[in-house]
């Protein structure tokens, strides 16, 4: 177990370091380089030269990278051009809100996808299975924003049941008190994940149903419900944890679109506004955080997986 952990953590650390290299490269691709990014568009060439010298941007790239990494490790992500705030404090405000939205979407997706997947596996080859398979393929091909627009048209415009704007409160508690306004954003963010998870549950349950321990349980006269709960689901759902880790990037991209559509005040909206206003420190800060969160998320799910399923440790 310890060997597995060290190996996996070392790998994650390498990837994290490379993520920072990628963001560093992007920083240097900016028009005018980092000086322009920090001093603003109106800085004079003299001011830029002075800044470059002062900050060490006239040194070699490897030296600069080491300095950049040092700043990152001390939590310095630069300052927004537009919002008169450090990127770190902006992220501190926005990240929990995105985590809330993503968490709700994931919970909803898991709650719906697992029963749907079981239903499909049990009714394999029947009408319900074909119908849900078709729906899942349709959901794969549907861009999040089109789905969101259709939901707005139907539930907000036609039926006038739900607001088309997400809660605008400053605190997480405030957001949660405005539940009707949360429905459309959360459902929009969840749909693609429901499709993926239900497909996965279907095939995992089917695989497990043909295992010998299921036949043994049947032979002992156990009921179908008990076999499903005690034997099949236990084995089928453990890998779902890994799937969660793999879906983190998709989830982040989804919240980016959902937040900009529904005007939900999270990290995605911050990022989108930054893209519209060429606020590069914010853009790169959010990109870095999304990358780091993905790496850490998949590390955690891998560890959870190894704890839950001892076979994994010996394989890797």
């Amino acid at each position: 177990m310890i060997r597995f952990l060290t190996k996996r953590i070392a790998q994650a650390a390498t990837v994290l370091l490379l993520v920072s290299v990628i963001v560093f490269v992007l920083l240097h691709m900016l028009p005018g380089g980092p000086a322009r990014a920090i001093l603003g568009v109106q800085a004079t060439p003299e001011a830029i030269a002075h800044f470059n010298h002062q900050q060490g941007y006239d040194r070699s790239l490897p030296q600069q990278y080491v300095m950049y990494l040092g700043r990152l490790l001390s939590g310095d992500l630069g300052e927004s051009y537009k919002l008169n705030q450090t990127v770190a404090s902006l992220l501190g405000e926005r990240l929990p809100k995105t985590a809330l939205l993503a968490g709700l979407a994931l919970t909803l997706a898991a709650l719906l996808a697992v029963p749907l997947g079981i239903l499909q596996a049990v009714r394999r080859g029947k009408a319900a299975d074909y119908l849900l398979t078709g729906a899942a393929f349709l959901a794969y091909a549907t861009p999040v924003f089109f789905l969101g627009l259709v939901l707005i048209l139907v539930f907000s415009q036609q039926l006038q049941l739900l607001p088309a704007e997400a809660p605008q409160a400053d605190t997480l508690g405030g957001i949660l008190t405005d539940l009707p306004a949360l429905v459309l954003p959360v459902v929009t963010a969840a749909l693609g994940i429901i499709a993926a998870f239900s497909r996965y549950t279907r095939s995992a349950v089917l695989d497990n149903l043909s295992e010998e321990y299921v036949r043994t349980a049947r032979a002992k006269g156990q009921s179908n419900a008990r076999i499903m709960a005690r034997h099949v689901l236990r084995n089928a759902l453990i890998p779902l944890a890994t799937l969660l880790g793999l879906h983190l990037p998709t989830l982040f991209s989804g919240t980016l679109v959902v937040e900009s559509m529904f005007n939900y005040p999270g990290m995605g909206l911050l990022f989108w506004n930054a893209a519209q206003g060429s606020d590069f420190p914010v853009l790169l800060g959010v990109t870095l955080v999304a990358g780091v969160a993905t790496v850490l998320g998949s590390l955690l799910t891998d560890i959870a997986y190894a704890v839950l399923d001892p076979r994994i440790r010996s394989v890797t």
Partner: protein
């Protein structure tokens, strides 16, 4: 996906060539055939449609703005007076051209990178794969948006931007294939006869992985079309008066409040159709080439 599982040898007494066999399995898959027909229909609609229904998609006409479907405008008009049916054809051309080019370019780049990494193995492979791991850790849409915010996209730039992000997953896929192929006997034999690395990659590994490459290319094209749509929807694609299906949706979002549904459904359904079509074709090809691979 459902595999059409009748063994080919039973149906064909005089053994046909591999290309025909592949085609036979593909056409037996109804979904794949539907996908191909839908794609053909969409291509005809976008590229030949303007001959039957010519419209002006450059100049705005505010006297014709925001009309509901009917009369001269079968799908209504936009807030700037563009005929929507015509715009659907015009915008579809951008979506399809950029999607196809970017998907193919991404496949090409990823395939060569993956094949080289897999063939080299060892440290070079580990280093090359950690780079793709890191780039894959950053959600693709975030990378795309940052790059699109740095450079203003035109059609060729957009193709490059999307390909520069999308090559990662084929790279991983082909690397796995190459890793398996490099220890085959014929590669040992080639090396004994003095063949070099580039010969191994281009003459042996790539031709053997071609099924995987082609199947992956169709999924890449579907993804690239979605990426174009996402970028345009976020307002970071080719600036107006150019249009594509994503930017049409983005332009329609304001008018959902007044119930202009015709701005939303046609481009949205077009995206769903084309993406589903490519996915079905990809699934059919996978069965036809009989390659098993993870669709990621």
């Amino acid at each position: 996906m459902t595999a059409t599982d009748a063994p080919v040898s039973e149906t064909a007494p005089a053994t046909p060539g591999p290309a025909r066999r592949t085609l036979a399995v593909f056409t037996r898959n109804k979904l794949a055939l539907t996908g191909a027909l839908v794609l053909l229909g969409l291509l005809t609609f976008c590229f030949l449609g303007p001959l039957i229904h010519p419209t002006d998609q450059i100049h705005t006409d505010l006297s014709q703005a925001g009309l509901a479907p009917g009369g001269n405008h079968p799908l209504g008009t936009t807030d700037l007076g563009y005929d929507l049916l015509g715009r659907l054809m015009y915008g579809g051309r951008t979506s399809l051209e950029v999607g196809l080019a970017a998907g193919l370019l991404a496949t090409l780049l990823g395939t060569v990178y993956g094949a080289v990494a897999g063939y080299l193995g060892g440290w070079a492979d580990a280093a090359m794969m950690r780079i793709t791991d890191a780039a894959l850790a950053i959600p693709a849409l975030f990378l795309l948006v940052v790059v699109a915010a740095i450079v203003t996209p035109s059609k060729p730039v957009l193709i490059l931007i999307i390909a520069s992000v999308a090559w990662l997953s084929p790279a991983r896929l082909i690397r796995g294939e190459a890793l398996a192929l490099r220890s085959r006997d014929y590669l040992h034999a080639m090396r004994l006869m003095g063949g070099g690395g580039s010969r191994a990659v281009f003459r042996h590994i790539l031709p053997n992985a071609i099924g995987t490459v082609i199947v992956n290319a169709t999924f890449q094209i579907a993804d690239a079309i979605l990426y174009v749509a996402y970028l345009s929807f976020l307002g970071l694609s080719i600036p107006p008066p150019a249009a594509d299906w994503g930017s049409m949706l983005s332009a329609g979002i304001t008018y959902t409040q007044v119930g202009h549904w015709w701005l939303i459904f046609p481009p949205g359904i077009a995206i769903v159709l084309v993406v589903a079509a490519f996915n079905f074709i990809g699934d059919g090809l996978r069965d036809a080439f009989d390659v098993r691979l993870e669709k990621s």
